[in-house]
């Protein structure tokens, strides 16, 4: 596979779905695939990379003909899958020289491929076409290594070189030890030593793993060498590779998406609510004061603000992060039988006779009674006439980490909203996703992330992704505003779901009961308008006030916040039945 620099690159994206399904089919491997972008110098990555169970794939592999691309991506993903299946744990670099590191990696590549081929012999045809190295010319280290790689997989290949033959016999004689990954360490170390003694130069800075489907093998090695380790360390090759292909992030650990998620939210733009653009003129709402048992008119000012724009991919990936939940939801939506025709019995008119009704008519006639004329049955398409509003609490406390997780509550809320939106989008129900926070009674910010008439598209996802925690929770005012917007929808059923992580509070309210009672009143007035409000609390200790605000039947507490993504759409389907 020679790489022609002039050939237009073939993007990976169209192959992603089928290849990730292929890995699941082979080994039940659900490895997240992440795009690997060009580094800071604009150099596109040339090989895949594996880190901690993630597969990083370049957006495109340059220099590959379109007709080879499908095969190459398949070979690459299956090779990565074989590593994930059979390679573990990571090798310590220890005192190994760069050339030994490269050879241990090469032997490890061959070892996992052979283990994979024991299960699936047909994989040979997937990988072998890319091994084209041949003898001839002046021997050099990269050439010999490519030939060794070929000799280890291609049974028909005959290489005259003594070192390659030695490598081949070492590898196949040790067949019985393939199960242990120490085998690669031992054989690779020996071969690396030999190559060193042949005085062939090996430049770790320019070394690229051959053939092109193999990953850069960085994921095989422990990477805890201090960044200051300079000079002739065995880690050189790893380090150089990283420099060449770093995608602009400060260090290796930031490659993992988990690391991104772990990033302290405090660093994210705090909450400059006051500086955000207003989307609509402020609206004034009354607030219930239980101490005087009446409403304070025009007490709270709700300002709709223009939400920010984030990376829609973050939201779109929610489905990948919660793959099992997403699959279950898809099944649930199907099972909900939306749009499935319903058989109506005992109708005045219809397209066929209702047998039971006809018999009753005959019986009635025998008894000289007046028969029931409703003797038809008909098929009717059930139509759902429903609008749903999901209201998210994005106050400062949603920046806290989930008790036994590594992600802030807000991200869990966002993922849940994304799965909710996907499910509703599929059902075809009209829905909106709004968020709120407050900064005193004069400044309750309200964000329309996805409105009823808008499509759930990239723009909506970008707005959802832009959410940052900040400020307080004046729930009653947000409910009244949400209720007003929802009330304009001319649907038979109107459902307002609120996700909140704590007790309502605000900076200008000292009495904890005040906002709880106000919310309770707001829920009452929503009910009077024909809007069903349902509260979902993420605070395990919040059952009491949540019940006070929404009622026992219309509230639930999620004990395990991570389950919200699963629960929210399920709850909706049950409520909207």
């Amino acid at each position: 596979m020679s790489e022609h620099p002039t050939v237009p690159p073939v993007p990976f994206a169209p192959f992603e779905r089928r290849l990730s399904a292929f890995l699941v089919a082979l080994w039940r491997l659900r490895a997240p695939i992440r795009p690997m972008r060009p580094d800071a110098n604009g150099m596109p990555p040339r090989r895949l990379r594996l880190t901690d169970g993630l597969i990083w794939v370049p957006d495109s592999l340059p220099g590959i003909h379109a007709d080879q691309a499908a095969g190459l991506y398949r070979a690459a993903l299956v090779h990565a899958g074989a590593h994930l299946r059979f390679s573990s744990p990571r090798f310590p670099v220890g005192t190994l020289k760069p050339v030994q590191v490269a050879l241990v990696s090469l032997i490890e590549d061959a070892r996992v491929e052979h283990l994979a081929m024991r299960e699936y012999p047909g994989l040979l045809q997937v990988w072998r076409p890319f091994h084209v190295a041949e003898g001839g010319g002046t021997p050099n280290a990269p050439g010999l290594m490519a030939r060794l790689a070929r000799a280890l997989i291609d049974p028909d290949y005959d290489d005259g070189d003594a070192w390659v033959s030695k490598g081949r016999s070492l590898f196949f004689d040790g067949r019985a030890e393939w199960e242990t990954h120490e085998f690669s360490r031992r054989v690779g170390g020996l071969l690396g030593n030999d190559l060193g003694q042949m005085r062939l130069s090996f430049n770790p800075k320019t070394h690229v793993v051959e053939p092109a489907y193999r990953d850069d093998n960085l994921g095989l090695w422990e990477s805890n060498v201090p960044a200051s380790a300079e000079g002739e360390t065995a880690y050189e090759s790893l380090r150089t590779e990283r420099e060449e292909r770093d995608d602009g992030r400060p260090d290796d650990t930031s490659l993992g998406i988990e690391a991104e998620e772990r990033a302290p939210v405090a660093e994210a733009p705090g909450c400059p609510a006051g500086e955000e653009e207003m989307a609509a003129p402020p609206a004034l709402y009354s607030e219930w004061d239980y101490r005087i048992a009446r409403e304070r008119p025009n007490w709270v000012r709700v300002v709709e603000r223009v939400p920010g724009v984030g990376d829609p991919a973050e939201v779109r990936n929610a489905a990948t992060r919660h793959a099992a939940v997403a699959d279950r939801l898809a099944a649930l939506v199907r099972a909900a039988g939306v749009g499935r025709p319903q058989r109506l019995h005992r109708q005045l008119e219809g397209d066929r006779l209702d047998l039971d009704a006809c018999i009753e008519v005959m019986v009635s006639r025998c008894r000289n009674e007046i028969p029931d004329p409703r003797i038809h049955a008909a098929l009717q398409h059930r139509t759902r006439d429903l609008s749903a509003l999901l209201l998210l609490d994005v106050s400062a406390s949603t920046g806290d980490q989930v008790p036994d997780g590594i992600r802030p509550v807000l991200e869990v809320e966002r993922d849940a909203a994304a799965l909710f939106a996907t499910a509703l989008d599929r059902i075809g129900d009209r829905f909106a996703i709004h968020a709120f926070r407050s900064n005193g009674r004069n400044d309750v910010s309200y964000y329309r992330l996805k409105d009823f008439r808008e499509a759930y598209d990239d723009a909506a996802m970008a707005r959802l992704a832009s959410l940052r925690p900040g400020l307080s929770t004046r729930l009653g005012a947000a409910l009244r505003h949400g209720g007003r917007l929802l009330g304009r929808q001319s649907s038979h059923r109107r459902l307002l779901l609120v996700v909140t992580d704590g007790e309502p509070s605000d900076i200008d309210v000292a009495d904890r009961r005040l906002l709880v009672e106000d919310t309770r009143q707001a829920v009452f007035s929503l009910a009077a308008q024909g809007i069903d409000a349902f509260g979902i609390g993420l605070d395990p200790g919040g059952r009491k006030y949540l019940t006070r605000m929404f009622g026992v039947r219309n509230s639930t507490v999620v004990d395990h916040v991570e389950r919200l993504a699963d629960l929210l759409p399920n709850l909706f389907l049950t409520l909207s039945r």
Binding site: R18, Y120, D356
Partner: protein, 266 residues
Amino acid sequence: MALNAFRITEEPYYHSIANEIALFEAAYSARMPMMLKGPTGSGKTRFVEHMAWRLGRPLVTVACHEDMTASDLVGRFLLDAGGTVWHDGPLTQAVRHGGICYLDEIVEARQDTTVVIHPLTDSRRVLPLEKRGELVTAHPDFQLVISYNPGYQSVLKDLKESTKQRFAAIEFGHPSFDAETRIVCTEAEVPEEVAARLVRIAASSRNLKGHGLREGASTRMLIHAARLVARGVALATACDIALVLPITDDADLRDAVRAAIAVAAA
């Protein structure tokens, strides 16, 4: 005998996986209602046929569907020249004359339909025919068996707790490699080597269950593929038309299953 048409005269082939035959026999001797759980094509129906044959009882099978009413099960009045005549439904027939009544895919039936079996499945063992004003006491040989595919259950479609708790259950899964090979071998009359290959292929499609496929290839599908092979169809083609095309319409998943079959079958 009223249920002669429902008697099974020849032994239906069934390969026992564990001790399910003994368990069922024990449950039958106590006339305990049984629930057979498992994915489609895992042998639930074949098992109940085999047991009916083994116990020498007639087997009345009802395929449940969501439009089924209680009168479809217990019976209804029909008309003749002189007026109305009562006509026993399949359940009533089995109750009256002593058969095994098998309600296939019971979750598909509406919950208000399934409650008619409640009085039959506790110590009363009676079936009230409300419309006829009759209380049918179950024949001593009568037993109720239902099948249930847990994969399809959801919040919206599930058995009522009060229905579930009346049954003892036997779970059916995909058989072990050797057992499944023998089943495919016997059912489709193919060499063992072909059967073994097909079973290996099935594993890859079962891996995709829950990851795009609702169910992996069932033993039934493997038998279909093997029967095609026995009739001279090439293995790859047989797999394609019996295992890949029916299971999904998603081009990417199809491609993945085909690729997995290619590397497993080589």
